[in-house]
Symmetry: C2
Subunit: 154 residues, 2 copies
DNA sequence: AGTTTAGTTCTCAAAATTAGGAACCAACAG
DNA sequence: CTGTTGGTTCCTAATTTTGAGAACTAAACT
């Protein structure tokens, strides 16, 4: 049975709250926190349930949500019926791209907005287009930025 | 009295929902949408209230929230007691930096997490540190990226 | 002083989110 | 075919969020 230190528990709560602020439900946020912090990075349904003191339904729903959000995975071992859930941490590059994608989508909406707007407010329209364009630029440049980062670290 | 087209209303709803997904409350999200779309980019309290069909309390609370989030401003004209609310759109660069800041803050938590973690999971710890480091890198590089963007646009 | 206007605050009800518990299902074990 | 385990689903209650309405404040106008 898994036991957490005070510090670990505090970290889980902090991470949980951070995730909540990005729109995630509380239990899901804490599961993410737990998987960040836990010495074993692969936990079973019941380990998660037990250590966080939450119900089966909450656990099930949150795990499914996290899988939908592309944050979670599970692996199995033959002769063991349980799933071992883990963060898709090794794929964090995809995660970051995913976040930027949604922003870029918004950029398209901004362009639609400008297309609808009066032409009487040229500076305002320019600001909107600039923002939209920068977001797209950011989206395009992100892969390069990742490569640069790879290169510059020792 | 301000009148919106169907298309404008639809855009406001779309923008509103997008904002909601980033954790903003519904009315605040729609106000942002309205100010993006409205031909007049500076609206009074009552214009906002009326065109969105919301109560004074909801309007007041949302406007204050948006000012706290650094998204809104207002200007006044002498001899007119009303405030003219507007998006701080011309400052979108700051906005973008602000968003990245909060991510960077999370990066510090990740480093704390790794400091607490067992050393028995070196790859996992490496992934965590990589992510944390990349987020900081992104934070540092963003200003440069903005400059590049300024330079490359015609 | 009395009234109108711009906006705030308080109280409360409606609606949405969250999560517990129990019943359920499917796979495997004996 | 019966029992156990891992996980899902359904129903419901508690909590939180949201926003309306009315009372209120403060400034400006008369």
């Amino acid at each position: 049975m898994i036991k957490l230190t005070e510090k670990q528990q505090a970290l889980i709560e902090r991470i949980g709250i951070f995730q909540e602020k990005t729109g995630m439900q509380p239990v899901a946020g804490r599961i993410v926190g737990l998987l960040y912090v836990s010495d074993k990075p692969e936990l079973t349904f019941d380990e998660i349930r037990e250590v966080l003191g939450i119900s089966k339904s909450a656990t099930s729903n949150a795990l499914n949500l996290l899988q939908h959000l592309n944050r979670l995975d599970y692996i199995t071992y033959s002769g063991d019926r349980r799933r071992y859930f883990r963060l898709k941490l090794d794929r964090w590059r995809e995660l970051v791209m995913q976040e930027i994608d949604s922003v870029t989508e918004f950029s398209a909406t901004l362009q639609e907005v400008v297309a609808e707007r009066t032409k009487e407010t040229p500076e305002y329209n320019r600001d909107l287009l600039d923002l939209a364009d920068f977001l797209k630029y950011l989206h395009r440049e992100l892969p390069k930025l990742m490569q640069q980062w790879e290169a510059q670290r020792k």
